[in-house]
Amino acid sequence: MTKRILISLDIDGTLEVGDPPGDLTMEMVRIAKSKGFIIGTCSDRPLSTQRKILTQHDIEIEFAVSKHMLPDVKEQFEADVYCHIGDRDDLDRQYAIKADFDFMWPDEAAAHHWFHK
């Protein structure tokens, strides 16, 4: 049976549309989405802005949350793998660890097979 994978994406410093831009391109996110992954954002940007950014790039997301809300995401979605991708130790990695998510830095994620055809 295929593993159900949930990916939580930070925006600034992680996505190419972030401020500063990160390594993950929107096309990579689209590829992961096309593979059936549960995709959402987890950023310090306002929730409404998170949704708007992804919508502007024609990517439908399953959730948009603040950094401290990763446990809520885990509760809401059933998956075999939960992974947060972000560029900060204090605001990404530590929140991911606390929520029992796997964690990847943006450059690691950009090279990961999840984001490639």
């Binding site: 401020d19 310090d44 940007r45 306002p46 929730l47 409404s48 802005t49 949350v65 603040s66 950094k67 401290h68 809300m69």
Partner: protein, 440 residues
């Protein structure tokens, strides 16, 4: 002699001083702003010195004044509250050497002296008066108002600039050391964020008056909305993001009950004004905005963080000083632009003022009514630091622009902009200016 901080005698920090002796005889005319940036990119033309020169030149141009007519310069020499040049980082000598230097290589990079500006603005050939109003534009405005009124300068530029460096705010400078001397050691030892003192006061406020954090949402939404109509501001220029009640409610706590959006975003910018006498202002390009009074709060709390009782006593006292010197009452205010960075003390300021008749404990209920620029009770039409980024300048720029009829999409329409008050920063420790469309 190097430029000095203004003497204590220039500030109106006591109650009972009566009408300000220069009431209506000093005016703001020109406004100049640099573009904003989130952080310095290391280039010459985006340094805090460069932004300052740009803002000053714009203020002169806006007022229709040639540089040789300027004879005074009042600035704030400190250009950050939390972005200090890391000791281990090499100095940016290429940028430093591209300007005329003072003895301090970080002058124009991470701080600013009047001497540096004069060395790099050769067109200012007649400046004979320089003075520092430390920390905030609010302070510099008080100094400039008094200096023009006292005849120390006739055409005076006033400047406040901010730099911001890569890396985290408040993590450098003394906070990066293993030990810290003095009182800050007690605060910093526990790693309390800058907003923690205000958060404590706000928590006590909510407990005392039975209010909740989510009652701040209309103020936050209104501030960001107004800020997104301020073309000079950071959010307008770079990230036109609205705030919704949901956005505010679900932001992470920084120091509960202060969340991420209860903190302003540090940026780079410079803002400048041209002040002159009411008489001289008549010949200038923009409509004069007359200064009816300036007032200061210099209260010192009994302990590390002011209590709510101390905050309320001081904001009430500040209001009495503001009104007494200006010869007005709360009912005369068309709008208010008190400081908001941290937003949770904005209500302390306006309760102290008795803005629209509100009393202590009533501001959050007031926020649930129409506080928009279109309504009869505009609150923070500038959008403040929440709407435009950390500058402590927008509140003054907006007050001047509203009264000059130059606030654009942000113009208050529910009231006629005739008299306004702006200032801050803290409820204990701030400087305030009363602006008017007429000198009397």
């Amino acid at each position: 002699m190097a430029t000095q901080n203004a003497p204590q005698s220039m500030y109106r920090s006591e109650e009972g001083l009566g009408i300000w002796e220069h009431r209506g005889k000093v005016a703001a005319v020109g406004i100049g702003h640099s573009p904003t940036e989130r952080r310095w990119d290391g280039h010459r033309d985006t340094s805090v010195g460069a932004l300052s020169i740009l803002a000053l030149r714009k203020a002169m141009e806006d007022a229709g004044v040639t540089p040789d007519q300027v004879d005074g310069l009042v600035i704030t020499p400190v250009t950050t509250t939390g972005a200090f040049w890391p000791e281990e980082d090499p100095l940016p000598w290429d940028v430093i050497k591209s300007y005329n230097q003072t003895d301090d290589p970080l002058d124009g990079i991470a701080k600013l002296s009047a001497e540096w500006l004069l060395k790099n603005m050769p067109e200012l050939t007649n400046v004979k008066y320089t003075q520092y109003g430390p920390t905030c534009m609010s302070n510099a405005l008080n100094v400039a108002s008094q200096a023009v009124g006292d005849g120390l300068t006739n055409v005076c530029l006033v400047l406040k600039a901010w730099h911001n460096l890569p890396g985290r705010y408040y993590q450098s400078g003394p906070n990066a050391h293993d030990t810290i001397q003095g009182t800050p050691a007690i605060r910093t030892l526990w790693g309390a964020p800058a907003c923690s003192g205000t958060a404590l006061q706000f928590a006590e406020y909510c407990r005392k008056y039975g209010k909740t954090h989510d009652m701040m949402a209309p103020f936050m939404i209104n501030s960001r909305r107004n800020g997104l109509m301020m073309p000079e501001g950071y959010w307008y220029q770079h990230r036109p993001e609205e705030l919704t009640a949901e956005d505010y409610e679900y932001a992470r706590w920084i120091a509960k009950p202060a969340n991420l959006f209860d903190n302003d975003i540090p940026i780079m910018m410079a803002g400048a004004y041209l002040f002159t006498t009411a008489e001289r202002a008549k010949d200038m390009k923009q409509k004069p905005v007359y200064i009816l009074n300036h007032a200061s709060s210099e209260a010192i709390p009994r302990s590390l963080t002011p209590t709510l009782d101390e905050v309320e006593a001081e904001t009430a006292s500040t209001a009495r000083k503001i009104y007494e010197g200006a010869g007005i009452t709360a009912a005369d205010l068309s709008f208010e632009n008190m400081y908001d960075g941290f937003p949770q003390f904005h209500q302390f300021h306006i309760e102290g003022l008795g803005y629209r008749g509100i009393k202590f404990g009533e501001a959050l209920d007031f926020y649930q009514t129409d506080i928009s620029i279109e309504g009869p009770n505009p609150v923070s039409p500038s959008g403040g630091n929440i709407g435009a980024g950390r500058s402590r300048v927008w509140l003054h720029t907006d007050s001047i622009q509203q009264i000059q009829g130059r606030a654009g999409a942000r113009a208050v329409t529910g009231v006629k902009p005739e008299i306004a008050v702006s200032g801050g920063p803290m409820p204990l420790g701030g400087n305030y200016t009363v602006w008017s469309a007429t000198p009397d």
